[in-house]
Amino acid sequence: MKKKLLAGLLTIAMTAAALTGCGNGGSSDSAQEGSDGWPQKAVTFVCPWSAGGDTDFNIRTLAKYLEKELDATITIVNTTGGGGSVASNDVKNGKNDGYTFLAFDSAIALNKASGVTDFGYEAFDPVAMYAKSTGELIVVRADYPVDTVQELVDYSKEHPGEVKFAANTGGTSYYAATKLKEAGADFNIVNSGSSSERVAALLGNHIDVSINSMGVVEQYLQTGELKILGNMATEVPEAYSDYPLVKDEGIDLAYDLVYNLLAPKGTDSAIVEKLSAAIEKVVNENADYAEEIKTAYGQTPFVVSGDDMMQAFQAEDDMYMEYADEFQSAN
């Protein structure tokens, strides 16, 4: 009896160990030169946000189709905390044997600009920018006395410091707030947490303006509780073409939230290229993938790699670094 119980407990322990990822540790077999033999074992994508968010969704969906493309197992590991910096540091300082990658997003540039990390994309060998969100929207309660972003800016000038604008330090929302301030707005910038918490705070009259993606606010548009003043994306997304771009109102505010995959510096370039080509193939050619990202987030396939990608990374970096002082003075 004792032995049985003991054996049972041991089995559980081992299963748990294997399932929680200990099993991926064995990397004694040195990475083969070139990409012919790659991948020989499970590839790990480290996601800095918890399971269930948009970044996690995007990388999991991509990985699902990449597995078939590469004939390999891809494990998504969620290492959260520090606004993403725990994971980005881990991968940056980890093994560059071609089996660990960082599945991040535009926050890589924002982390650097706000001083959470002292490095950006340049500390990695980027693989691809593989997806793009449908844009972040400026949202207010339906009964709020403004209808456009310009009216919001004017309203805040007439009521200095009274308009509570939810923005997270080191987030794109803070960039939006800074840009609108440049356009003359006088907000009380407050922190209200995650995107769904911001919507609740908006509904509960605790704040006045929130930045959200379409997914979390769509139903409140239908119930008539919230309204959208404008979309801050660089171009009108197919799925939500009804909402004007903020930049078209003559306000200098346009950015995209882009999801990217980064390899630790020094990863074999043949492996990076092979992975990048496989990603391009899935995003551009796989109809099931396109359908899935459309159903969940209204996204359309988007991928940039090679030299264009390096330029896009640098442009993103420059855009946020220009405001590094504003971001860091908020600390």
């Binding site: 322990a13 520090g82 881990d90 239908q222 119930t223």
Partner: protein, 501 residues
Amino acid sequence: MTSMILEGFSSILLNPTCLLWMTLGTVVGIIFGSIPGLTATMAMAMFIPVTYALSAEEGIALLLALYIGGTSGGLISAILLNIPGTPASIATCMDGRPMAEKGQAGKALGVGIVFSFIGTIVGLAALVLISPTLSSIAIKFGPHEYFAITVFSLTLIITLSSENLVKGLITGLLGLMFATVGLAPIDSTARYTFGNVSLNSGFNILIVLVGIYAVSEIIGTAESVHSGNRKDLSVVTDFKVKGFGFTMKEFVSQIWGAIRASAIGIALGILPGIGNGTSNMLAYTVAKNQSKHPEKFGTGCIDGIVASETANNATIPGTIIPLLTLGIPGDSTAALLLGALVMKGITPGPLIFQQNGKVVYAIYAAIGVSALLMLLVEFFGLKWFVKILKVPTHILMPLVFALCIVGAFGTNNRVFDCGALIFFGFIGYLLKKGDYPLSPLILGFVLGEIMELNFRRAISYSNGNYLEFFTHPISCVFLILAFFSIVMNLRSIYKKKKQAA
């Protein structure tokens, strides 16, 4: 409407595959919940890839079975090993362990299992009947209100440390201090990280909990082996348990307590972030304060187990309310449920009943079925669970230690957490040596970050005006309650001292 209800219910009840998955989920959940270091959250994260292959209803049902089984499973190690498997069962230890030491382990488990079931069902009733009302209340809670409610909850430390108030306050403060390590809320300034990036995310609650309860217990046992005064529980335990081990009369006497604990569990469940870790301790202290025989709490009376286990399970359907109606996950476990829903193209929100009514009713059915499965599996497992006490400590403790390390690694896939676990093990060991109560540390740690975050938010919302804590009605009420809680508790301590003198 009716057809949606029927479709939703039948997608669970008339679907053998789904029931099979749920049975598996319940068993795995209970195992994970009962093993210190492994949690319901981990079990769910493991099964997330499985849900891709299932329909939305089946996937959510499987996750709910894991969640409910896992939360209830925590009572097994709490009672038998004095190690809470999750923060949700901390208060279960307080009377569960003394009962086990009196040879009533089977009875303690039986009580815990039955009232876990009752808590889930009462919570489910609230979810089905009044979730729109409850979610409109939840929206009214802004940062001022959250701050006030955490201040009120912190006054529980007094009750949790009635033996020695000063020692309780010390461990409570330690908890608050450990909560400040890492990137600060709002502005992400690094605090007490000493340049170590691994400390940026602070300490995970699970690491702190398992460290100070489980690892310290292991160190303590190792020591007791050498000093020769080890306790052998197996001699006195009631291995032959009949039914659930308690009488009908005892059951009836607990009904009012169970209703009160359910209400507390649901109320904290709808407030995202405060939830499970707090509700069991709040229910326990309320039960103790209102009891006719408060001196029996902590010596092994079933009232304490009833309060803790009813409340923590009632919190689960409570947590589902803001999740479904507002899309706000109360904890990492609820976040996984949210993720699974979004993955299937189901967005929580005010229209979820119209747009995805079938899934909502499937969720109701799945919670009910999971509760029943949990009751059945644990009922038949009862006589096996108590046999854990027969395993010699020199075999059991190393196993528990190995599982703790595995669990620590599994929480965030970092070796750093394994080191932190051992660090907290030594802290817990030293505190136990000095007879310091451990639960205030956990309470301080759980509430510390929520309190600080909401205090800072509140101040920025009101442009630096502290008076707004009193002009917001809900916030004002909780601050007054906190004040009275302190005064009343101090008065009763003073009285006791006078009597003793």
